[in-house]
Amino acid sequence: MGLIGIATAKILSSFSVFLFLTIILLAVARRISTSVLLFGLQSAVITADVIATAFQEKLPEVYVVGVLVFAIKVMVIPRALFVLTKRLKTVRDVQASTTPTQSVFIVAAIIYLSYAAVHSYAGAIHVSDDALAAAVSVILTGSFLMVSRKKALMQMLGLLVLENGIFLAALITTFGMPLVIEIGIFFDILMGLLLMGIFTFRISDTFEHLDVSKLRRLRG
């Protein structure tokens, strides 16, 4: 088995715990920089899982995907978001519409719901309950972040967390889609972020704030 083999097996069996930790901390984070850091950590955990899967299933393509995830989601995107936060000169607070206590309880409910929802499917697809529930809870937490945070940057982050969850679900169930498709998806995410960055600049220029709950001119 070897040391690497043991390490791989341990990573695969316990990475979901760390993902739960990151989403709980995301729920209580009060500053944008903390949330971005947590997103980076979450992507790092997912990278570890990708590499471990590649090692165990002996799929060389998945190594490439792992490197891509690390380069884009752990290095490039958090750094870009930090730079964006600084350039926008906005208030550092997350402007959540729920208190940290309520958010944590909502995330706890999300985790419970994910386990309940995944229970019937996980047995059929032969994946571990924990891993699939972790993926679904990350998806739901991303949606929750988008809905409850009023800053435009936090909506972007919620979207990124959502896509993290979807990527993880794909990884767990199918060990990754064909490489070309994965690269296309990454490219799309990057372009999407670029555009959202452009738009946040435009919002802050036109409206002089980044509170999307105040963007309510168009209604009906």
């Binding site: 341990k10 069996s13 316990s14 979901s16 715990v17 760390f18 739960f20 930790l21 709980i24 209580v28 208190t99 940290p100 206590t101 944590v104 309880f105 995330v107 706890a108 985790i111 419970y112 386990y115 309950d129 924990d130």
Partner: protein, 313 residues
């Protein structure tokens, strides 16, 4: 032989406590770029206080004088429950973690009473804040311990520690992680450390624990200070026993016990470093944010219990 070791464990908790406090204070000073007092300073403080004259406010009753004694007695009692170097303790009942939580609560209750009895405004303020913090901290404390107890299917602390010793460290259990998060936050609240309460503050309006002891002097103050040091040591030892007990000796031989003491000292040192880093890195929470802080702990512990029942790992 076993009883001697258990007695020595309890004495260790009681006597080394001021040293722990001194080390934490020294580390904080170093982190804040000061030289700091010597690590043995709390001992000399205690000796000094025991020799001084006690002054009591004229308007106080017997409660003012009994309160420190009850607090000290409660904390000393609780040291009998906690295993330190061996998975055994002086008192080993079924359900003793409940007793632990509530005996500590008894001590706090009497301290609050004494503060109220002292008649000063800051005593009253400290007592009411203390009531808020301790009532909010009680639920997560209990739930966190219960989650682990259910997981281990044991109802006594010693049994839980014995069960944990048999587990594989690298198979990280969600329940343990969540319970550790909840209990760590509660520990900060129970022992009166940042971000809930600043133990070194001199501004009365920011005090919780310090406000309650403003009126005390002489041996009563010594007892209170010692009791709070023992409580800090105790809570750290409890967390170590529940979550990282590996290194405890299995048998009674002197070599294994000495080795266990060494491991324990190492873990204690790590905890002291972590505590001083946390205390230096975060600012004290304003009073209206403390319920949020403890609410997060409550949610974490509730989640831990749900995981115990639903996922069982």
């Amino acid at each position: 032989m076993r009883i001697v070791v258990d007695l020595l464990q309890a004495l260790l908790l009681i006597l080394v406590a001021p040293l722990v406090r001194g080390v934490v204070a020294r580390l904080k000073a170093r982190l804040q770029n000061r030289r700091g007092a010597s690590v043995w300073r709390p001992y000399s403080d205690l000796l000094k206080l025991f020799r001084k004259e006690e002054l009591v406010p004229p308007t106080s009753s017997a409660v003012f004088r009994i309160a420190p004694v009850v607090l000290f007695a409660a904390v000393v009692c609780v040291t009998a429950f906690v295993p330190v170097v061996r998975s055994s303790a002086l008192i080993d009942w079924q359900g003793d973690f409940f007793v632990l939580v509530y005996v500590l609560a008894l001590g706090r209750f009497f301290l609050s009473l004494g503060a109220l009895d002292g008649g000063s405004a800051f005593g009253g303020m400290g007592a009411s804040r203390e009531a808020l913090v301790s009532s909010l901290a009680e639920a997560p404390f209990l739930l966190g311990l219960t989650a682990i107890a259910i997981l281990a299917s044991r109802a006594d602390i010693v049994g839980i520690v014995a069960w944990t010793l048999k587990q594989d460290f690298f198979n990280i259990s969600t329940v343990h992680l969540l319970a550790f998060g909840a209990l760590a936050m509660v520990a900060l609240a129970e022992t009166g450390r940042m971000p809930v309460d600043n133990p070194t503050t001199h501004l009365e309006l920011t005090m919780i624990h310090e406000g309650m002891v403003l009126e005390y002097s002489g041996p009563s103050l010594a007892l209170i200070e010692w009791a709070s040091a023992i409580k800090l040591h105790l809570v750290i030892a409890l967390l170590i026993a529940f979550f990282v007990p590996w290194g405890m000796s299995a048998g009674d031989s002197w070599t294994s016990l000495a080795l266990a003491v060494l491991f324990y000292a190492l873990k204690l040192a790590v905890c002291a470093v972590l505590l001083s880093i946390i205390e230096s890195a975060v600012a004290k929470l304003r009073m209206y944010l403390v319920p949020d802080f403890l609410g997060v702990a409550a949610a974490l512990s509730a989640l831990a219990v749900i995981f115990t029942i639903w996922v069982k790992r």
